[in-house]
């Protein structure tokens, strides 16, 4: 291996993990046009017949693959193969090929190669990334028909353990006919996040890097390769030191992944059967993947500010609709709580001038702006209502301090529905409405507010700062910012209790929800939904599944009887140790 030069290639990491192994390079025969013209009517008839036979054989071959793969294959793979049957038998391809054979006297091989090239070009020039990636399927089925046309035999490669496949691209039938159990990684020259190599690798949990470019093709069989499916790096014949580094990295990652994936599909249920909902806080549709990967039950807080920032005017209803819709589509029908715009003196928008205030946290912000600028508010509400047709979206109003605000906001929501009705646009009429409990008055009057809404979500960050009169940003007083202050805990406990009394759902979307120190305490209070950064979910789940609701209630009882946060945190820390 010292004869080969070392190289480092940057591709797109599509399936995380580190693979270290020996390269197996798959080279595909290029489809070539012969230029031969058919001599007479007999040859034309024969060419058409051989094309039809090739189609039948190709379909039969895939059906066999499906039948043998059904037990071990992932559902996605089977769906891909079913789609391939339809593509192979596509009447448009057959019509075009037969047309070329008959009127241009081309051989079946040439006609097919040309037709496939045309279709591939159409798909490659599409704007939609998913459809663009489908050009690989068309190439794949073209190659398959061609193989039968030219009576080649398919070669199923057998690999040694620890093989890393290096290929131009990997087709679904490649992966199925491959002896994949010895494959530890894939690297392809072409491809994108939505190409098959990516889908399959992810489904099988094999590290993969796609889109490596031509540099990849310099790899020879049995070259040593390191592949980092997260960063998208591929090392060819690296030094021993780098291999060692990656070995320990792989070891650490494997342990972490094992721990996480073991919990992914486990429900967050206590040992005595109480289920907690563990959701995530997100800022856009792209975050959904991370939520699913960590086994999140939904989204407890979808911040919409991202949509309003880094631009020079308010987003239109259509733009907003698209933004919320994408999140709804990616949510797999799990609940997604959308918080209406929460900006203010501290979170400025360049195109919306909020005059500087002495106390921005006590100023013109969030729902206060929305109830003043109803034009902006109604646009956002209409967009959310419409997007509600594509997933279980719910609406949450931030910074509520009294019941008039809730009623006014709900009235505007009704106006938004009326406008949509009038415009004859479909929307989710029975969308659930909730409020954030982050102002002490709201926490104290939870019994009053509960009658107006479907759910509460406790925003501990602001609740803490408002209750304790501590500016979160002031470094001199950070020690006072303490969610375990008995005053804050009493407010939280009251909100949960009143929510239960009025049969509405109570969640929490502040930092505290993802703090392992607080989990048992909150569970004991009866909190139903914990919403946090997706990555924090497994750790919190681990606590919940290893304790009982009865224990949590005891913890809660003890904590609520303590007189200072020092004692409370000391007790909870000891409990977690």
């Amino acid at each position: 291996m010292f004869l080969h030069k070392m190289e480092k290639i940057n591709g797109t990491g599509v399936s995380p993990g580190i693979a270290i192994g020996k390269a197996f390079v798959i080279k595909k025969a290029e489809a070539v046009v012969s230029g031969i013209l058919l001599k007479d009517e007999d040859e034309i008839i024969e060419a058409v017949a051989s094309f039809n036979t090739a189609i039948d054989l190709a379909v039969a071959e895939i059906e066999t693959i499906i039948a043998t793969a059904k037990l071990s294959a992932v559902e996605d793979e089977l769906a891909i193969l079913e789609a391939q049957i339809e593509l192979i038998g596509d009447p448009q391809i057959a019509e075009d090929v037969i047309e070329k054979i008959q009127s241009e006297r081309k051989t079946a091989n040439d006609a097919l190669v040309e037709v496939i090239a045309d279709v591939v070009q159409v798909f490659e020039s599409m704007e939609d990334e998913y459809m663009r990636a489908r050009s690989a399927d068309i190439k794949d089925i073209g190659a398959r028909i061609l193989k039968h046309l030219n009576k080649q035999h398919s070669d199923t490669a057998k690999f040694n353990p620890g093989t890393i496949i290096i290929a131009d691209d990997i087709s679904p039938s490649d992966t199925i006919s491959m002896d994949i159990k010895h494959v530890t990684g894939f690297a392809t020259r072409a491809g994108s996040k939505t190409s098959h190599a990516a889908i399959i690798a992810k489904a099988k949990g094999i590290p993969a890097v796609v889109g490596c470019g031509d540099g990849l093709m310099s790899i020879q069989n049995d070259d040593v390769v390191i592949l980092d499916g997260l960063s998208g790096l591929v090392y060819i014949n690296p030094q021993e030191k780098i291999i060692e580094d990656y070995r320990s990295k792989r070891e650490a990652q494997n342990q972490q992944t094992e721990k996480l994936s073991a919990l992914k599909n486990v429900a967050a249920v206590t040992t005595d059967g109480k289920k907690a909902m563990l959701s995530a806080n997100i800022s856009g549709a792209d975050d959904m993947e991370e939520v699913h990967r960590n086994g999140g039950d939904g989204v407890g807080l979808f911040r919409t500010e991202l949509l309003f920032m880094n631009r020079d005017s308010f987003p239109s209803e259509e733009e907003q609709f698209e933004f919320y819709k994408q999140a709804a589509l990616k949510s797999k029908n799990k609940a997604v709580i959308v918080r209406t715009i929460d900006v203010g003196g501290d979170k400025q928008l360049p195109y919306f001038n909020i005059p500087a205030e002495l106390n921005p946290f006590l100023g013109y912000r969030a729902i206060r702006i929305c109830l003043d600028r109803t034009d902006l508010f109604i646009t956002q509400l209409k967009a959310i209502l419409r997007a509600g047709m594509f997933g279980d979206l719910r609406i949450m109003f931030p910074m509520i301090s009294n019941i008039q605000e809730v009623r006014a906001a709900k009235k505007i929501l009704e106006d938004a529905k009326k406008e949509l009705l009038f415009e004859n646009i479909r929307f989710k009429a029975d969308i659930k409405v909730g409020i954030m409990i982050e102002i002490p008055s709201a926490a104290i009057t939870a019994d009053i507010l509960a009658k107006e809404v479907d759910f509460f979500s406790i925003g501990t960050n602001d609740l803490c700062q408002y209750t304790l009169a501590v500016d979160r940003m002031n470094e001199k007083i950070t020690h006072l910012y303490d969610p375990f202050n008995p005053g804050v805990l009493r407010l939280i406990s009251n909100v949960i209790e009143q929510g239960h009394k009025h049969h509405i759902h109570v969640g929490m979307c502040g930092e505290m929800a993802g703090d392992p120190l607080a989990t048992l305490l909150l569970l004991g209070m009866g909190l139903e939904e914990f919403s946090m950064s997706a990555a924090a979910i497994p750790a919190i789940k681990n606590i919940i599944i290893n304790h009982s609701q009865a224990e949590a209630k005891q913890v809660c009882g003890k904590v609520m009887a303590m007189d200072s946060s020092d004692k409370i945190t000391a007790y909870l820390t000891a409990l977690n140790a």
Partner: protein
Amino acid sequence: MITKQYTITAPQGLHARPATTLIRLVKNFKSVVNIQKGGKTVRLNSMINLLSLTIKGGETVTVTIEGEDEINAAEALDLFFAEELKDL
């Protein structure tokens, strides 16, 4: 001839999996079924033509059904677009 309008409820739109199901559904009927999006019409017997329309979630398509079994075909299509599609 029956003309129908459907909104695509499948999150990903008519990608490979739902497209396969739709093409196979139409094959069960003798009627000629066409699908139209944004002024482009294709016959619903070709996956390639169907995929080339790039029909996304939330978009609306017009479907025409013509033939002796058009009523049954339309019913099956109603069921597909209203119920089955969103799970595909």
